[in-house]
């Protein structure tokens, strides 16, 4: 993709990358039990997988978020983050259908964060993130990034 036409997508890449890097970082700074408790608030998530997910998700968000910002493996990073975004959208919808309600706090940014969004607010954000992430994952060339330097 030509650099000129990539500029808007570049802004999207930075935005999505920063959101996830921040989200993951805040969770990693807090005790893992905090995020585990936030996940447990979604009744549809089986108890058996919560410990593993509560360890893996913050690292995935942080590392792939940073990768996306600096443009390292941008297609893979964008794909992973788009997958995480879409998973949360599905989680909220299933929880709403199955239980008729949603947790008060989405648990996405950790309680120590400056950002406190309700689940529905995060749904809209994550739909946006998914769209940007998918577009980035499908884009072959990513100028303004580490991967283009390493080629």
């Amino acid at each position: 993709m030509k650099e000129k036409s990539y500029k808007v997508l570049f802004l999207g890449r930075i935005f999505v990358g920063l959101i996830f890097a921040y989200s993951g970082f805040i969770k990693l700074m807090e005790p893992v039990e905090n995020f585990r408790g936030a996940m447990a608030a979604y009744d549809v998530i089986p108890s058996a997988v919560i410990p593993l997910l509560s360890q893996v998700i913050p690292w995935a968000e942080f590392i792939f978020g940073i990768f996306l910002v600096i443009g390292y493996l941008p297609r893979i990073s964008a794909g992973v983050l788009a997958g995480l975004s879409w998973s949360f959208v599905i989680l909220v919808l299933i929880t709403r259908i199955a239980t008729g309600s949603l947790p008060v706090n989405c648990g996405c940014f950790g309680e120590g964060s400056l950002i406190h969004l309700k689940p529905l607010q995060v749904v809209f954000l994550d739909i946006f993130n998914t769209l940007i992430g998918v577009k980035l994952a499908l884009t072959k060339d990513h100028p303004f990034g580490l991967s283009s330097v390493l080629k």
Partner: protein
């Protein structure tokens, strides 16, 4: 998509750096917590310990809770069940942790602390959770509702009203919250059993109860595969009041 060796090595190096940074910052954050200097004016009031259960109880639970928090309200049923299932074995200490995102929370905590001064914390605590849907939905500060609850419990209303506007009491509540923040409490309810922490009613039910049973030398209860529906808030739990010491 081909990834060159150089690119792969760069990735490995990046991951190592990021992981190192995270562990370094996390370790620094945990070990650098220092006691805060006591603000002027707070010396003449410290939030009273709000303890239910015998001093001799082998299980000492601490809960950081917010009166306006729906999950905390849900947890009351679980706590009532724990007290009922293990009579005389549980001591629970309540710690204020009003969340800033809850508009009326600090009012509720102030009112509850004022009832603690009169030795009526636990009945008032139960009342606040029982009536939470009403007062939390109020468009104006629910001061009159809180006063009515106090009246219903036979409080000295002169003492109660005077206490409600006492800034020192407010500072004492936030000092308790700050203590929780230093323990990295980030959500309510957060339960502590020694150094073990359980965040939220589901974690407490699935892991905390078994941790309690372990302390009591009892076998573990299997964790249900799917969570049970949220229990209704029970009537006021039978908690034995422990009278506060004199004001310092």
């Amino acid at each position: 998509m081909k990834i060159s060796v150089r690119s792969l090595l760069t990735g490995v190096l990046l991951v190592l750096v990021l992981v190192t940074v995270v562990f370094f910052l996390k370790h620094r954050r945990v070990t650098s917590a220092k006691p805060l200097p006591v603000p002027a004016g707070v010396g003449h009031y410290a939030a009273f310990p709000k303890v239910a259960g015998p001093e001799t109880a082998p299980v000492k639970l601490v809960v950081y809770s917010d009166f306006e928090c729906p999950s905390c309200r849900l947890a009351q049923g679980l706590l009532a069940a724990i007290f009922k299932d293990y009579p005389g074995k549980i001591q629970l200490t309540y710690k204020h942790f009003p969340l800033t995102s809850h508009h009326w929370s600090i009012y509720a905590h102030q009112a509850a602390e004022c009832m603690q001064v009169q030795g009526k914390f636990w009945p008032y605590h139960d009342k606040l959770y029982e009536k939470q849907p009403e007062w939390a939905a109020s468009k104006v500060p629910p001061a009159e509702m809180f006063a009515q609850y106090a009246r219903d419990l036979g409080a000295d209303m002169n003492l109660f009203s005077g206490c409600l506007t006492d800034v020192a009491v407010t500072r004492g509540i936030y000092a308790e919250k700050e203590e929780g923040a230093k323990r990295q409490v980030g959500a309510t309810p957060t339960f502590f059993l020694g150094d073990e922490r359980f965040v939220g009613p589901r974690e407490m039910k699935e892991k905390g109860v078994n941790a309690i049973r372990k302390v009591l030398g009892l076998p573990e209860i299997p964790v249900p595969v799917t969570p049970e529906p949220a229990a209704a808030v029970p009537p006021a739990a039978q908690k034995k009041e422990i009278l506060p010491p004199s004001k310092t």
